[in-house]
Symmetry: C2
Amino acid sequence: MLDIDDQTKSAERILAFRDEQGDVAQDFVQAVADAIDAGDADRAQELVRPLHEADQGALIEALPADVRARLIELLGDVFDFAALTEVDDSVREELLEELPTETVIEGVKDLESDDAVYILEDLDKEDQDEILEGLPATERIALQKSLDYPEDSAGRLMQTELVAVPPFWTAGQTLDHLHATEDLPDSFFEIFVVDPGHRLLGQIFLDKLVRSPRIARVDTLMNTERRRVHATDDQEQVARVFERYNLVSAPVVDEAERLVGVITIDDVVDVIQEEADEDVKALGGVSSEEELSDRVATIARSRFVWLFVNLITAFIASAVLGLFEGQLQKMVALAVLAPIVASQGGNAATQTMTVAVRALAVRELGAGNALRVTLRESFVGLINGIGFGLLTGLVASIWFHDWNIGLVICIAMLVNLVAGALGGILIPLTLEKFGADPAVSSGVFVTTVTDVVGFFAFLGIATLWFGLS
Amino acid sequence: MLDIDDQTKSAERILAFRDEQGDVAQDFVQAVADAIDAGDADRAQELVRPLHEADQGALIEALPADVRARLIELLGDVFDFAALTEVDDSVREELLEELPTETVIEGVKDLESDDAVYILEDLDKEDQDEILEGLPATERIALQKSLDYPEDSAGRLMQTELVAVPPFWTAGQTLDHLHATEDLPDSFFEIFVVDPGHRLLGQIFLDKLVRSPRIARVDTLMNTERRRVHATDDQEQVARVFERYNLVSAPVVDEAERLVGVITIDDVVDVIQEEADEDVKALGGVSSEEELSDRVATIARSRFVWLFVNLITAFIASAVLGLFEGQLQKMVALAVLAPIVASQGGNAATQTMTVAVRALAVRELGAGNALRVTLRESFVGLINGIGFGLLTGLVASIWFHDWNIGLVICIAMLVNLVAGALGGILIPLTLEKFGADPAVSSGVFVTTVTDVVGFFAFLGIATLWFGLS
């Protein structure tokens, strides 16, 4: 089988799994589905073997839900359980429930500890224990320790496999150790230097190690300034440190500064992606848990909550309109134009809010510049308020042949855009100050402000100007 | 000066630069500002020397704009020009204009090629050439080659410093080469294997190299399956490959498969962050170019465009209201309630659109599942439409003591939520199909649909039901 064409064949297979756009190729999925139907393990293994774990994950997701577990059983050793870290949570949970415990234990055994933790952490305590018990003791203890750290902490993200050496070793000794030792992590970029109490002293990247004189002691080579993270740090904090200092990996220490693991950038990329996802979804009124593979009922329920809150605010805004029923009846043009004032204010406020929420999320906005940004936003609101006030006033005057109505809407628009700018920046800042997530909750408050202020300003000014009541 | 306390002192200084929240400490910034005012280069250097390039960048941003260039002059060698890759574009551009060309040339000389390209690429051709001419020939040629690749391409992102060896070398020979050669990249994780034509054959991570027998040939050790990217690939495509396959670095090849550079994950993290930023901002109606350090006039102008488009759609929606002026006058309750129908539809549609836009951005939504997701969203719209129709109908009936109005708003709400769901998914899909960025333009279309359908459904059904006209 291993002939000169083997590499080309495998390249062809990789190409065939994804089409030119990089999407999963439907005919490949069909071929796998056919093999599953036929119970043809050889064919399934032949198709899946060349696939990267990420592509195995993508394949699982592309298959109908009811054949996924059967594929994994057919594949045996060929299936890389790391693929399960690449699929949607709901897909993974369903699969883990369906698969026999022994299969899961066998699969988890081969994983790096961070991947194993990722798969285990969402299981309920009972299933978790059952799988842990099936694992070799050293692995079980390491995983249990990671799982004991809080959810979304550095301790959950780290892998416990690492290389640590004492400070009095030389570069040559360390290289010889790496050369001679069987039981090393699958891949690593650096070695750590620890004291007898396993406290972290410093770290040396492999490229530095191989370029150093063999007789140099590692404590003279090591970098002591590296950013370390604490096992209990939140993963967002960890991501911030990685991003800020362009790290590729970072040692994780416990409360006694003892080295307990290492976090690598690929896990952090997932966190960054997740965070961005949460921000986008929260601003759009969607739960961060929602996934493309969720069922209709799950989605409808989770979105209902946000829409319900919005309905209440919509009624509040309408109640303001209701206060002016008499005026609306006397001058129906007011009813026709009022939504324009509210909508324009809402959009301007959303712009400000978006900038504020994102800047807070990436920590670009803080006590140091909050005042400056608030002033700036107010000015932007004022300038655009004047611009759109005049524009809307002009169009409204022409439409209803009455410059009075143009004047009224012009002033109302100005007021609402300034109010929107202030709301758009102060509401996220206030929510952040009180520990709420501004991405999730700012939207409701902000549009309530612009709806209420918009209707109130427009109809209130109209009442005064036209002497309606 | 170099005593046992040195490390502690530098740790204290790092601590002092950021407060407990990780924000830049104001007193540190003040101390630097004082040193600049006094023209005290020693003090400025003492303060800034221990800072990481990223923190140097943060310091630059925290200082008033008019003293930044003076600080860089005072710092001389102590200032790391890589810090300029960490600041907002507008800050960097201003600084590069203010600084004498010689200072910039000296600073760029010490950078890795990817950082140098990042700094040079936004300058106008003339300034760029002036700086390039001041650089040593080899560096100039390498930078020029990178700059010749299109904007936002892999060729711009890559660094050209790398280690490549011929396939017939042994592991021992390679390690000896690394050990003996002075002129190596500042840091690297892997060595590449190339043929005499510099075509990429494979790659070996350093950890594998040090663990291999010294006599093994590198072409027996190398990994040939690694994902490579082409220099002309778009950076988003590159980011997608890194994310999908959890890469730490990837070789960059030209059209003849010759190795021309290497992209490391830290640059890709910036791309991922940028992309997420663009999505968030686009959905909020803010230009992706907008930065927190921009001036009021710049921001007001850039936001005006989006608000102007929104104003037009608001007038279109109001024109629909205008069609029913007579009915609104006869039944003012319709004017009070109409915005609720429009707003609820808008929010539901925004939820769907957010999910669709994000899924398109991360390539989770494609031809393979577009139909399924559209059907799912329609069902969600139907379910929530029934729920909110009944709820709103009930409240409206009680408010206006008329079950007829409740019935009308119930049906209108149902219609609008289904329309919103369809608009929320089909509009982004259509925009994507025609090559437009769905994040930027979906919002306007979607809310126009829900405003127009909301007003039309509610007032149209009311007209029929109550026999108004």
